[in-house]
């Protein structure tokens, strides 16, 4: 028994590394949806607004993030897009970060294929244009001046969905999912405040304290980091990457706790068995 404990006490650390990979990778492949997740009001603030929109009304989504912040923002962007499609809303989407264009496209195509939505009729992706402030002010006046062509290159006016759509003031609700600036503060200052439309946002953990003051007056809701994304996934009943992320972090934490307990208990157990 003793030598088993000795072997256990100074086990080769590579086995620990395998344990870590298992703890983090398993929920990615199959989310466990561990209990304990309480939905907060700020996340519900976005969900309720989208839920209340009648079918066929317009919703604006701006994907303002890049690959570096993918783990936190990608899941919430996917969840909001899936929710909009499930409510049969018409999505007018764009992005302020050039390096995030590929990711935004990926999210829209993934969610559209799942919900059987057609490009041009159910959703439109306008892509990226330089100078964010000019873009934001422009889309609230006349989107065709800012985006003559959509991201795929066809003429924006020719898209059936945009037949009677002139600018963002016609949106039932607007969501910006971002990792920093340009992002939510600019949308609030140059968009929602000026043109009085309802707006919500999603952000990374590091920018949450900075965006918290906007809620609930200037934005109806805020989805903070991976935990917020997991709450939104639970609200739309589709646990996915955010859940996996939270599960992974929870498993990681509990792996450490178990190991801390183990490495401190072994000396005691050894003293008893001697």
């Amino acid at each position: 028994m003793n030598d088993f404990l000795d072997k256990l006490a100074n086990v080769d650390r590579r086995y620990l590394f395998l344990l870590v990979i298992a703890a983090i990778l398993f929920p990615i492949v199959r989310p466990l949806a561990l209990p304990g997740l309480k939905v907060t009001d700020s996340v519900k603030g976005v969900y309720d607004q989208i839920e209340a929109l009648p079918a066929g009304s317009y919703i604006g989504i701006s994907f303002d993030f890049d690959p570096a912040s993918k783990p936190e923002i990608y899941p919430m962007a996917l969840a909001v897009t899936r929710h909009a499609f499930r409510k049969n809303l018409k999505i007018v989407s764009m992005n302020l970060w050039i390096t995030g264009t590929g990711l935004a496209d990926e999210i829209l195509t993934l969610a559209a294929n799942e919900a059987g939505k057609k490009y041009g009729e159910d959703y439109v992706f306008l892509g990226w244009q330089p100078s964010p402030i000019a873009v934001i002010t422009g889309v609230f006046m006349d989107i065709y001046k800012v985006f003559p062509k959509d991201q795929k290159g066809n003429d924006a006016r020719s898209l059936p969905m945009l037949k009677d759509f002139r600018n963002f003031t016609q949106l039932g609700y607007f969501v910006t999912l971002g990792a920093g600036s340009p992002g939510l503060p600019h949308w609030v200052q140059f968009g929602a405040d000026k043109y009085k439309i309802k707006m919500g946002g999603g952000c990374t953990a590091v920018s949450e304290p900075g965006y918290r003051p906007y809620y609930p007056v200037q934005i109806t809701g805020l989805i903070p980091a991976m935990k917020g994304a997991a709450e939104y996934e639970s609200l739309i009943g589709m646990p996915d990457k955010a859940y996996a992320g939270l599960d992974a972090i929870s498993l990681g934490h509990f792996l450490i706790l178990i190991l801390l307990a183990l490495c401190n208990l072994i000396p005691f157990v050894k003293r008893f068995t001697k």
Partner: protein, 246 residues
């Protein structure tokens, strides 16, 4: 960004990620390749940044416009390069002196502001509270007063721990002992709060590897993973029957 460059990007990024992860198993040629490539690329990146974003705007452009301002710092900079010529390498001391003087001069007032006054600002509070003219003995106020007392006590004992030229005997020894425990609480709290960030980093990398397994990327991760494992097995076997090379 043609489709090809995206696929190539996925393979290169997944490949380099797996090479670095292989270091967890053991030091092996693939990790050495990634390591040396990484050092080389960062130096290439620094040289490019230096030429275009530092030397260009700070030295070349001003000189072109006739502004001789950058001449003196250029001389000090060249002073550093005199280390190659032993006979005049003493000139580098003037450049050292400038840099050391600049750092020390800058750090005295800023340290007093950010690491001394700012820290005191949050600690020197009264031990009693008063609301609407009356000494407040409500539960919240007492709680706040006790917290302030602990705040001040912790700070004083930690400072006592750092005494160098005083014998740690009697009351000083006791206070310094208490100080150590407050430091341990701080270290424990700092450790606990950092753990979460580390795991979300790891989750992010494995999340990327998982996305690159998709058919769109021609199954980059699985293919590279199998190749890596095969290579490591062969390499370890070769190592076993050959005396370890240095």
């Amino acid at each position: 960004m043609s489709e090809f460059t995206i696929i190539l990007g996925a393979w290169v990024s997944a490949g380099l990620t797996l090479c670095i992860f292989s270091f967890l198993y053991e030091d092996n040629p693939l990790f050495k390749v990634a390591e040396h490539l990484y050092i080389g690329v960062t130096i290439g990146y620094s040289v490019t940044n230096l030429i275009f974003n530092s030397m260009g705007p700070n030295i070349y452009n001003p000189l072109k416009e006739g502004n001789l301002m950058p001449l003196l710092p250029t001389l000090l900079g060249l002073g550093f390069l005199t280390r190659f010529i032993p006979k005049i390498s003493w000139m580098s001391r003037i450049s050292f002196a400038f840099v050391m003087g600049y750092t020390s001069g800058l750090s005295i007032p800023t340290t007093i502001t950010s690491q001394f006054l700012k820290q005191l600002e949050g600690t020197v509070y009264p031990l009693l509270t008063r609301k609407e003219g009356l000494l407040d003995f409500s539960r919240a106020a007492i709680g706040h007063d006790i917290s302030v007392f602990i705040l001040v006590a912790a700070l004083l004992t930690v400072l006592i721990y750092f005494f160098f030229s005083v014998e740690h005997r009697g009351p000083i020894k006791a206070a310094s002992k208490v100080g150590i425990y407050f430091i341990m609480i701080y270290l424990g709290a700092a450790f606990g709060t950092t753990v979460m960030g580390r795991f979300s980093l790891l989750y992010g990398r494995l999340f990327d590897l998982y996305t690159y397994r998709a058919e769109r990327y021609y199954y980059a991760t699985p293919v590279l993973l199998v190749a890596l494992i095969f290579f490591l097995v062969v390499y370890t076997l070769k190592q076993k029957n050959k005396p370890a090379e240095s």
